[in-house]
Structure formats: structure tokens, C-alpha cells
């Protein structure tokens, strides 16, 4: 039986179409589910929260969405061990909901993706992410090679990981920092971090490993035609590059 993935749309979400399309092309049984159909969510086996500006990012990015009915179902599903992937605004929502890193109470976040620093502006640019946890730490990364380098785009104004110093220490010690910003050649240094994120963090995973929050958009560099280093003989329409993250997620869900 196929495992159904719900790609959630909150009012203000804007990346559901390409996210669902890449999941489908990576073998996932993805369905776009709008907020007015939230009551159908318990029938799905996994949830993907795509990018955008849910509820206009009022108060803080993700703060209002974290409290709506859609998230009641995601929180229930996560507790049952269903896989949850949040991308950009979706990642912000997962942190605001307290699902990631999941070290405190629900909806009482211990860490947040907050206003970029040192320059507090929206930034859009190509980037790379490097896997810095054991792939087996999470079913979502399990199919990635160790140290995988994933191309992506950042496109956010609030992507800087911020938390109390003791919390940041705990995040590092307990392998919650799953992906960090990196250069195209895999080097990791401060100049690769586009937003001042603590520990260079691009993605966090929860304690159980089933909820994953990633700021950069791997789906925007998910097909060969998206890559600047595409070669002419390549299959331009094939999922590649950032698609590895989606393939690994789909495999974790139980797709092909």
C-alpha cells in the first residue's frame, strides 16, 4: 500500500506546487492539502510543510500557523512517529510548534529561526548544505551518504538559528544540528553562512529523528535545469541535486 504524503498549505504558503511535484518525481505519493481541508490530515502517513509566509509571518515567522488546526494534526501525527519535513517557513512553523528540537513543551519554543543577522534583510542566494549527523540518526536522512553536500537556495528574512547558549550547547551535543551551510566545494566556514545562523545551522532534527526542519530550499535546485553547472548531455528534466533530500525523505516514508 502506498504511503500518502500531505503537502500542507496554510494561508500564505507559496511553494506547495514545486514541493509536491518534486516529491512525486522522487517516488512519493504527494497530495496538496489546503487549510480548509485540515480535517483530512489524519488519513495521511507523512507531512511536508512547504515554504511561504503563513499568516503573513505576523508576530514572528511561523508563530500563528503553529497554533492553528492544521498543526494540531501534525503534532498528533509526529507523536505517532509519522515523518514531518518543514522547509523554510515550514521549518519556522515546526520550531514555533516546539516539535523541533522538541526538547521542551509543545508550542513553547526553545529555539527559533529568527531575523537574519548581522544585516536584517531578506536574502536570496544559492547555497550548499552539508550533512553533519550520522545519516542513520533520522529516517529522513537515512538514505543520504555520510557528509552529503546538498545544493539549495536560501530565500528568507528569518533564518538565523537563535537559542539560549545552554540550549545551543545541547543542540550540538545531542546531534540536533543536521545540516550546516557550506561552500560548493564542501568547505564549512563562517563565510558560507548567509544569515548569521548559530552553529552555521541550516537544518535541525528532533530527538526522535522523525521531524526535520530545514531552512534552505533544496527543491529550488531539485532538477538538473536548476543547476548552474549543468552539462549539455545531462537529462535536464531529471530530479537531481537537491532532490537527494526528497528521495531520502520519500524512502523514509516508505515510498519507492
Amino acid at each position: 500500500m502506498s504511503h500518502r504524503i500531505a503537502v500542507l498549505v496554510f494561508p500564505g504558503t507559496n511553494s506547495e506546487e514545486e514541493t509536491a511535484r518534486l516529491l512525486l518525481e522522487c517516488g512519493g505519493d504527494a497530495h496538496i492539502v489546503h487549510w480548509s481541508k485540515a480535517s483530512t490530515l489524519p488519513h495521511f502517513d507523512a507531512y511536508v510543510l512547504p515554504g511561504g509566509f503563513a499568516y503573513e509571518d505576523r508576530i514572528r515567522a511561523g508563530a500563528i500557523a503553529a497554533h492553528d488546526e492544521t498543526m494540531d494534526h501534525v503534532i498528533e501525527g509526529a507523536a505517532l512517529g509519522k515523518l514531518v519535513l518543514g522547509i523554510c517557513n515550514g521549518a519556522q512553523i515546526l520550531l514555533e510548534a516546539g516539535l523541533v528540537p522538541g526538547r521542551g513543551e509543545l508550542r513553547r519554543p526553545t529555539a527559533a529561526f529568527t531575523r537574519n543577522g548581522p544585516v536584517p534583510h531578506f536574502v536570496c542566494m544559492r547555497t550548499h548544505m552539508k550533512l553533519v549527523i550520522d545519516p542513520a540518526r533520522s529516517p529522513i536522512t537515512a538514505a543520504l551518504p555520510k557528509g552529503a553536500l546538498i545544493p539549495a537556495w536560501v530565500g528568507h528574512g528569518e533564518g538565523r538559528l537563535a537559542a539560549h547558549e545552554s540550549e545551543l550547547r545541547a543542540l550540538a551535543e545531542n546531534d540536533h544540528i543536521a545540516l550546516v551551510y557550506a561552500h560548493a566545494d564542501g568547505r564549512v566556514d563562517a563565510s558560507a553562512v548567509p544569515n548569521g545562523s548559530a552553529l552555521g545551522a541550516a537544518a535541525l532534527v528532533n530527538t526522535a529523528g522523525n521531524v526535520f526542519a530545514v531552512m534552505p530550499h533544496a527543491e529550488r535546485d531539485g532538477w538538473t535545469y536548476n543547476h548552474p553547472d549543468r552539462r549539455r548531455g545531462d537529462d535536464m528534466l531529471a530530479p537531481s541535486g537537491g532532490a537527494v533530500l526528497f528521495r531520502s525523505f520519500v524512502r523514509g516514508v516508505g515510498g519507492r
Partner: protein, 755 residues
Amino acid sequence: MGSFAGAGIALRPDELRRIAENLGRDPSVVELHAFDAQWSEHCSYKSSRHLLRALPTSGPAVVLGPSEDSGILHFGEHNGERYGIVVAHESHNHPSQVVPFEGAATGIGGIVRDVVCMGAEVIAVADPLRFGRIVPGSHQRYVAQSVVDGIGAYGNAIGVPNLAGDVYFDEGFDDNCLVNVVALGLVKEAEIVHSYAPRNADGWDIVLVGKATDASGFGGASFSSVTLDAADEESNKGAVQVPDPFLKNVLMRASYRVFALLREKKITAGFKDLGAGGIMGCSAEICSAGGYGAQIDLERVNVAIDGLPPEVVAIGETQERFIWALPPEITAAVLHIYNEEFTLPQIAHNARAVVIGKMTAEKRYVMREAGNVVMDVDIDFLTGSIRDDLPHHEIATPEPSYGRPLVTGMPFGEVLERVLAHHDVASREPLYRRYDRAVRGRTVVARGEGDAGVLAPISGSKLGMAVAVAGNPRYGGIDPRLAAEHAVYESVRSVCAVGARPTGLTDCLNFGNPRKPEHYGELVAAIAGLATAAREFEMPFVSGNVSLYNESAGGKAVPASPVVACVGTLSDISCVVTMSLKQPGSVLYLIGHPQGALGGSVVLDVLGRHDRTLPRIAYEPVQRQHDFLWQAMQSRLVRSAHRVSNGGLIVAVCEMAFSTMHCGHTGIGVQIDDPWQWTHGALGELEALFNEAGGFAVEVAAKDVDAFEGLADNVDGVYEIGVTVEHPVLSLRNEAFDLSHLYDVWRRPLAEVYP
């Protein structure tokens, strides 16, 4: 002229007399404001429409010419279906000068609606911008920063990538910035939705959709049709609309769902954006264009606050609204999509879809409020074309003066650095990094990676769509006609530089007060220039916009600013070419004839010299160069390419090298041969390296040189100019310049404005 401007009415006495004569009575307050909006320059194009007839608007690629909210160009076929690219171009100059963030954001919001209402999915936006001198602490700098933030905030939120744009800084824009916006959409040609009601639509419902009508944007159309007066700044702010990208995001998605419903039910409906003239303007146009009249009941309009005067409800330009003309049997299902499925009332205060009236066979436009008729006019008289024949001065092209080669005591390295740091040349990356350029996952060449932005808009298809904009105000200030020709040429050239075939054009004409013969003369000359270039390139204009009165109260007008966008098609995205150098050991060529004319060039500006001789366009050789480049790219002989433009050939080559230096890469260098050799002594060194006449710099791998030169055999204007080298150095004769230093010089100026 404008003698009622103080009373908020831009209509002139002769126009008011005509209205009273037609009505056989004095107009009501609502009627007065209705005609004021409909007959404004903004809506009626009264002083430009007859001039615009000179532009070519037909051709094999034209699916829909300039007659509705947007034009449509044929794009290609996929799975047996024909696809079109919807193209719209508009200005939001006045509002952006008064409240830059909101004004610019609303510009994006408005142009996106023009594309959506054709039944299309919005796939990209572009933003040609013109700002004043941006010295620290100046109002001009604040405008330049806030406009960019406004465009970013809106485009990012609705999830449409910013694919192309340009920006110039010139004292001519100190009092009037220009914010032009382009939006592009994708539509199946069999599924186009028109801005008029179809046949047999008598008795159809008129449905208003979107934001609750409020008091914002009242008088916007006529406000755009007068010159700006600093003393009126506060009252002008009331004429500016308030953007809501969050609501628009939901409205777009809900409208896409309605399109699917109509397709499924095989229903043809009319759909139109509410822009200038508000509910009145939009409902009158959608009905009159189909040959109908309308009965509108203002009490049914969803309003944000009670007690608004009827003229404000009828004519105010509250943003984020559309009107549908629907057969009654489908109305309930459409209302359900907007109000229940996409929960509009919960997205924004009292936002919703609501029936506000009916279409009538009798061609009168009748509006009621509380049972009283507040407007009752002949609909064709209201929306029909009016024309102003204004006197204009002939603007002649300055006589060319070809003197001796330019010489300067300034060392070459310093000239180069000053050109690279010039505000019209410096890296635009600090500006466009604030724009989402990759949302939707279809970006092939992002802004800055090539001369045109490229998308792969159709899933499963290798078709690529390219778009680029152009319009050089340094040229506009010298010769509007040649400036217009160059705007077409540069936009076409940019599309060619990525390997696409240009298919069509759209324009935005930004000028001063047309009632001054010298400014009207500039408009006349620029349109003639656009027509010449478009005919030579065999390229139609499918849409466009005219923005006049870009003039301060002191009478200072903007430089003549014809801005052009060109759209092109790649039949296979694997043939796309970017600007970044690919490897050391390649050969560099110039394709194009360098010219001695330096009028309007950046190098003259940095040297403080003046010359009014602009480069000429020799269309025939240029066409052959474009064909040759396309063939070479199809044959995969070109590794990278960059058009020659602001700053000339040497800047183009530097930028190709700079593109390799991102993200801590050391980069590839270039060695340029002595220009004396490859121009055969025809030009001075500064002319050869800094002239902006056109052409391309291209990189050809050593192994492909023979094939490339063989293909170039019959093409005039192909010069071997140098090679790429391993180290990040620009070498010229016996001098070497550190490219990483030059990169910093080029990167810093706008990074200070857009940190």
C-alpha cells in the same frame, strides 16, 4: 489645463462641457469622478493612443495584441497543446515617489493581476527602476532603498520569482523615480480568459472578488495624470493604494481553482483586474467591451468601513480586487471557491466574492446606492476613446561629431576602476539578492547569471522562456528616438545572449508633461524609434503602458525613458548559455562592431566629458550577428556569453570573470589583446574597450575554435580579442590588474546602499 486640479478633478473645462452635453444635464458627483478617472491619461491614453498605432503589433508569434489587460505571445507546444506567454508592463512612478515601499509593492500587485485575469499562472516578474542620485542621507537614497524593499516584499510573498530588471541612477530622477514592472504568465492558448463578457451574456452576474473596498486609492488614475507637487504630498498619499500580498497570494490560488472549474464545465466567462477607476472602471470596461451595459448596486459591495461616499466606493482603487462576468448557473460555485474553500473572509477583514450587479442588453451604465440612481450614462461614451491632439516640437537626432580619439591623462587602471564603480555599472547583486529568484523551482538562469532570466515553465518540457529589460536614460537625455531604438536592441540582444530566440516586446513610456510641446515631442520621437527598431527586428509589441506627467512642480521632467522588455524562447534549455567563464585556455571573441561614438557612455561620464553622438544601429549586420550567435550556441560552440552594454566590452569581460569569483572561488582570469591589433587601428583604445555600441563577448573552448570560426566565415564583425587564463588577473598589453580587487571595486557601491 488642469484648472480644477485644486478640487481634485483633472478634467478640463472643455471635457466637462462635452460630458454635460452628452448627458443633457449636469453630471452627478459620482459621474464627475467616473469621467475624471475614465478620461484621465492613465485610463484613456488620450494623448498617446493614436501615436502608438505606429508600433507593429502583429506577427506569427502574436496570440493576443495590445487590446486587453495583457498581451500574449506564442511560446511553444508540449504534448500537443499550444502554450502562450502572457506579457504585461506597467509603471507605478507617482505612488512610488510619494510612498516608495507601498507604491512599488502595489506596482507588482497590479501588474500581477493583469496577468492572472487572462486565465494565466503568474510565472515571473521583472523591475526596470530609475532613481535619482543616491548620496548618503538623501531622500533619493531612501526612495531607492524602499522601492526595492517594496518590490521584494510583495513578489516574495506571492511566490513569483524576480527574473530580470535593471536600475539606473541619474539626477534627472531626483524628483521623480520610475518604477516599471513587468509580469509574465503561462497559459494554454485554448484556455485564455478574456477581459470582456462573451456573446449572449445579457443578465449575467457581475461578481466583485477580493479585498473589502476602503477609502484608499481614491483619485489614483487622475493623480497619475498630473505632475507631482511637493506641497500636495500629504493629500497625494491618500491617492496611493495599500497593498496586501498575503491576501493576493490566496486570491491567486483561488482564481486558479476557478479557472479549473470553468474549464471543467466548459464555461467562457469574463475576468478583469480592478485597476484605475475601481469598480466603475472595471465593470464598465468588461461590459462595454462585450457590447453590454450594466446595472450595479453599490450597497452590495463588501466595504471595510461604513459611511464611505458612493464615489469612493465606486471609483476608489482599493487593491487586490477582480471582477468576474459569470453566467448565473455557475455563480454559486465560484463564490463557494473564494469564500468557503479559500476562506477569503478569514484571510482579510470582510474580503469575499459577492454579486454586485447584472449585465444588461441596454448599453447604459447605471449605478444605484440605497435605491437612488447615482450614475446613468451611455456606457460607450464613458469608456470610448477620446483623443487629445497636442502640439509637439520636432526632436532631431543630434548631428554626429566624430572627432579625434579620446585621450586622458588618467591611468588606464583608474579609468577602469571608476567605470566599474559607476552606479550604472556596479554589481546589482546587493539589490536583487533581496528578491526571491528561485521560488516555483523553475529557474534555469537566475538574475545575474546571464543577460536574460530563463525559466523552464512547463513541467516535463524542455522549452525555456527568456526575458530581459532595457532603457538607457543617459541616451534618453540626448536623443529619445535613438534611445528607444537602443532599448529595443539591448533587450533583444540580452535575450540572444542566453541562447534564446526573441519573440516579442512590451514597452513602458515614461515622459514629462505632454502639454509641453518639447516633452510631447520626445514621446513622439521615442515611439518612432520603437517602431523603427521593432520593424527592423521583426518583433511585435503585444502590450505596453504610457506614463506621462513624470515631472516635478518646478517643471523638471525625467529624461525621456522608453523602457522595453523582450521575451524569447529556447526550444531546448540544454542550449542555454550563462555569462560566467567556464575554463582557462578558452578564446574570447567580440561579436559586433565597436564604434567610436561615446555619447551617453559611462566612460565619458567618469571623465567628466560630454558628447551628443550616440552609437548607431546597423540593423542588417546586427541581425546576422544574432543569427550567427544563435547557431553557434545551438551547435554548443559557446561556453559563456555576455552582451556589451554599460561600460563597454571591458566591463562585459570583467563581469564574465567576476561571475566565477563567488563563494570563495578564486576565479578565472582574462588576457585581452591590444585593441590596436584587433580593430586594425580603426579606433582608439578607450573607444575600443569602453564604447557601448552593442555586441557580445563570448568564450569559445580551444577545441571548438575552428568550428566557431568556420561558422563565422560570412559574418561581419567577429573579432578574436583574447584568452582566458588560470589566475584571476586581467592582463592588457604589459599591465596586469588583480581581478579580486576589481571585483571589490565593482561590488561595493551598491552594497553600501543595499547592505
